[in-house]
């Protein structure tokens, strides 16, 4: 049996864990031990080759990035089997918007959903810290739409030629847009180079301009500020039945030997994301805690939240050149901050250049085979003009029964049931869905008309794939009967157990969530420091 110890034990090594570890290392003298079930994946020096092979064949650029028998079941859109050092954010796109103030007070403002136990203004310093630690390049939007306490740490990724044309189009439709905040270096930052618009931010940045958690881990390890234990799957937390304190964690090595491991610490932090954090709490059931740990409320695994989208392709009478910087976009928060008189709908808006409908084709409209010069002549005609890609995430309020459960029909090699995920809209969201989605389609039709263009296609998130940028499962709140952790992420039932980032969130807003996951995690780190 192997024993691992530390003052602070962080379980999971994803983007929230990495930034929390950095915060803790900067603000405490306590020892920090990070436990990761997976291994190190593709090292930085190999990412250029990995990118080439991804582009050429669709190969996974992240080698050894999962543990074979450790996976979630059910509608898991937004989930990935990634379980390696750095987690899912090793292949994220780097898009880093903040939620808007309304997200934290939907109950107070609109009478729906639930308020968070803190406000946007209270989270603002942690947003700032997250942006500075990761290096977020951003353009200050109109202050009324895009409030923030201090400027972005990096100037924005430039609005390129294509996006400039699309920005004018949006303006004609009375929509204010600006450069999407991105954790990509618009200028060299923290030893990493400027973005080279390789357009493979998702899934792999070959230059290091996009932030990924390994950069933080490498820095912490090189200065010996943390201990990182890989290939170690935490399978149980053990709590003292009298005090509720977590006394240890137990698990096994995930290598071939599968050696048993005991992890001893004073403070335990679950940073395993919306799947593995509640999963571990449920797995940790015993005679004293038959429903699992931190589960006095019965809400562990409940209130999984996310958002869906309507997206589309719109042809426009202008000239664009697909490929200038295709993964970068314009963003608007105009519809996240609108005041609502009647039915509830809040959404973001993103606009990209697009090559859809402008690529080569095999047969023309008459079905004639196109080869050689005929294909190129046809392609040149198709390549003229412009296509814009648009997408709006709209928020979905979670039902209590939007949940993760243990599925005894699927077990890993150690006999642990795997998590099963099933999203469910709250009744108010379910009732509004058809209307909300039609409103978004109408928005895109209106935008097309304003530009003298035509909607080529409109599509909605498929109902059976779950929700995007998922959160929840260990929701925070002030009332122990309706929440799992408090506003700092501390479990109501266990004073030395904290749940970090996405799983603690009450809702998932209507924009990409990673920056908020990290900001919420940093707030939890501050809470740990304060608790001593």
């Amino acid at each position: 049996m192997k024993t691992v110890s530390g003052d602070i034990i962080i379980i999971g090594s994803g983007i929230t864990a990495a930034n929390m570890a950095a915060h803790l290392a900067d603000n405490t003298t306590r020892s920090i031990t990070v436990i990761e079930a997976g291994r190190h994946s593709t090292p930085f020096r190999e990412r250029g080759k990995a990118r080439d092979r991804y582009l050429a064949y669709g190969e996974n650029p992240w080698s050894r990035d999962h543990v074979d028998d450790q996976n979630a079941l059910g509608v898991t859109y937004g989930f990935s089997p990634n379980m390696h050092v750095g987690g899912l954010a090793m292949h994220w796109g780097g898009v880093a918007p903040r939620y808007s103030p309304e997200d934290f007070t939907t109950r107070s403002l609109y009478g729906i959903g639930d308020d968070w136990p803190f406000t946007y203004e209270e989270l603002d310093p942690f947003y700032q810290e997250a942006e500075e630690r990761m290096g977020v390049a951003g353009e200050q939007g109109p202050p009324s739409l895009d409030p923030r306490g201090r400027p972005f740490p990096l100037p924005p990724i430039p609005v390129n030629y294509n996006l400039k044309q699309l920005q004018l189009w949006a303006r004609n439709a009375d929509i204010a847009t600006w450069s999407t905040p991105s954790a990509k270096n618009s200028v060299p930052y923290l030893g990493r180079p400027q973005c080279q618009r390789c357009d493979t931010c998702y899934p792999v940045c070959p230059s290091g301009a996009k932030y990924s958690p390994d950069f933080t881990w490498d820095a912490l390890l090189s200065t010996k500020k943390i201990t990182l234990v890989t290939e170690t799957l935490v399978r149980r937390l053990v709590a003292d039945p009298r005090t509720g304190r977590i006394v240890r964690a137990t698990g096994n090595r995930t290598d071939a030997g599968g050696e048993e491991v005991t992890i001893e610490g004073k403070t335990f932090v679950l940073a395993g994301g919306f799947v593995w954090s509640p999963h571990l709490l449920l797995l940790s059931r015993d005679s004293a805690f038959p429903n699992g740990l931190a589960n006095r409320s019965g809400l562990v695994g409940k209130y999984l939240a996310g958002h869906r989208n309507i997206g589309g392709q719109i042809s426009l009478p202008m000239e664009l050149f697909p490929g200038i910087n295709a993964q970068h976009s314009l963003v608007s928060k105009q519809f996240q901050r609108a005041s609502y008189k009647g039915k509830y709908l809040r959404h973001d808006l993103r606009i990209w250049e697009s090559g859809v409908g402008r690529n080569a084709r095999l047969r023309d409209d008459d079905g004639t085979l196109l080869l050689g010069d005929a294909l190129l002549a046809d392609w040149k005609q198709r390549a003229k003009g412009a296509t814009a890609r648009v997408r709006a995430y709209y928020d979905v309020l979670p039902d209590k029964e939007s949940k993760l459960t243990l599925d005894d029909t699927a077990k890993n090699r150690f006999g642990d049931p795997m998590p099963r995920v099933a999203f469910k809209d709250a009744p108010e969201s379910a009732a509004l869905r058809a209307w909300q989605e039609e409103e978004l389609r109408n928005l895109f039709r209106r935008m097309a008309k304003a530009g003298g263009g035509e909607v080529l296609s409109l599509a909605s998130s498929s109902n059976d794939i779950g929700q995007e940028h998922p959160t929840g499962g260990c929701r925070m709140g002030n009332d122990p009967s309706t929440s799992v952790v408090d506003g700092w992420g501390r479990a109501h039932d266990h004073e030395n157990l904290w749940v970090a980032g996405a799983p603690a969130q009450v809702s998932a807003s209507c924009c990409n969530g990673t920056l908020t996951f990290v900001a919420v995690g940093l707030r939890t780190a501050a809470g740990i420091v304060k608790a001593g």
Binding site: S41, R64, Q196, P322, R361, L362, R363, L375
Partner: protein, 255 residues
């Protein structure tokens, strides 16, 4: 993985990535394992390719029949090739370069010139040669399971090249390479008549080697620039400087 469409710049990142010509890459079995012996990877790849070749040889007749040119077992008339007169359908993944060049002359535009065509064919051959069958597919957002790329398409494609040669023999009494441009087009058009697709398939999903070659080229930055008549160079790493300027016109395009 959806193999039905070549991705275009600006597509959602969830679509199939855009193939690009590769130079020869020395890719170790596990790039993160610096101590991994390269031989391990090479052995695995050789095994998978050999296995794919054996499977493909068994299916070669079927592949050939889809273009109406199943190898004949006897020389039974004028223009009918015999097994002795054409390359055997060996379980090989090495593409017959002479026939492939002839295919390239038909499917690739003349604008890129003979040197450009040769370069495109060479890039395609390199791409085929470096393919790692059943490698793990990128698993990003969208599905939670681990999926794998297709088996090696090369043996099937080689049998199609043989089939094209046989078809040329039947239609024009000479090999495809010996046909003139019009005859080659005639043979290719006949061979592709049953391909029921409006969109150009992605190379790995291409039902015919001619389309794989065409698609591989059409997804290259150079092909896109040719179509756009401008210097954009999608999917290549380059500086942010000047990103707000209209791309420079090229290839005969007018500003």
């Amino acid at each position: 993985m959806a193999l039905d469409a070549a991705a275009a710049p600006g597509d959602t990142p969830r679509t199939l990535p855009q193939p690009s010509p590769l130079t020869r890459l020395a890719v170790p079995d596990d790039p993160s394992a610096s101590n991994a012996a390269p031989e391990t990877h090479a052995s695995r790849r050789r095994f998978l390719k050999a296995a794919g070749a054996v499977a493909a040889s068994a299916a070669a007749a079927t592949v050939g029949s889809t273009v109406g040119c199943a190898p004949s077992t006897s020389g039974d008339g004028e223009g009918k090739a015999t097994r002795e007169e054409v390359p055997q359908a060996l379980p090989t993944r090495t593409l017959d370069r002479r026939t492939l060049d002839a295919v390239g002359d038909v499917v690739l535009p003349s604008t890129i010139g003979s040197a450009g065509r040769a370069q495109a064919v060479e890039a395609f051959v390199t791409w085929v040669d470096e393919y790692d069958p059943v490698a793990e597919e990128m698993h990003g957002y969208g599905y939670a399971d681990v999926r794998y790329l297709p088996p090696d398409p090369a043996p099937g494609w080689q049998s199609q090249l043989i089939g094209l040669d046989l078809l040329a023999q039947r239609m024009r009494q000479r090999s495809l390479a010996e046909c003139d441009a019009a005859q080659r087009l005639e043979v290719l058009t006949a061979a592709l008549a049953t391909v029921d697709a409006q969109r150009l398939p992605a190379p790995l999903g291409a039902p015919h080697v001619a389309l794989a070659l065409l698609s591989h080229w059409a997804n290259s930055p150079g092909a896109w620039d040719l179509a756009l008549e401008a210097t954009v160079a999608p999917n290549t790493c380059r500086q942010l400087d000047g990103i707000d300027a209209k791309p420079r016109r090229a290839f005969g395009g007018t500003a």
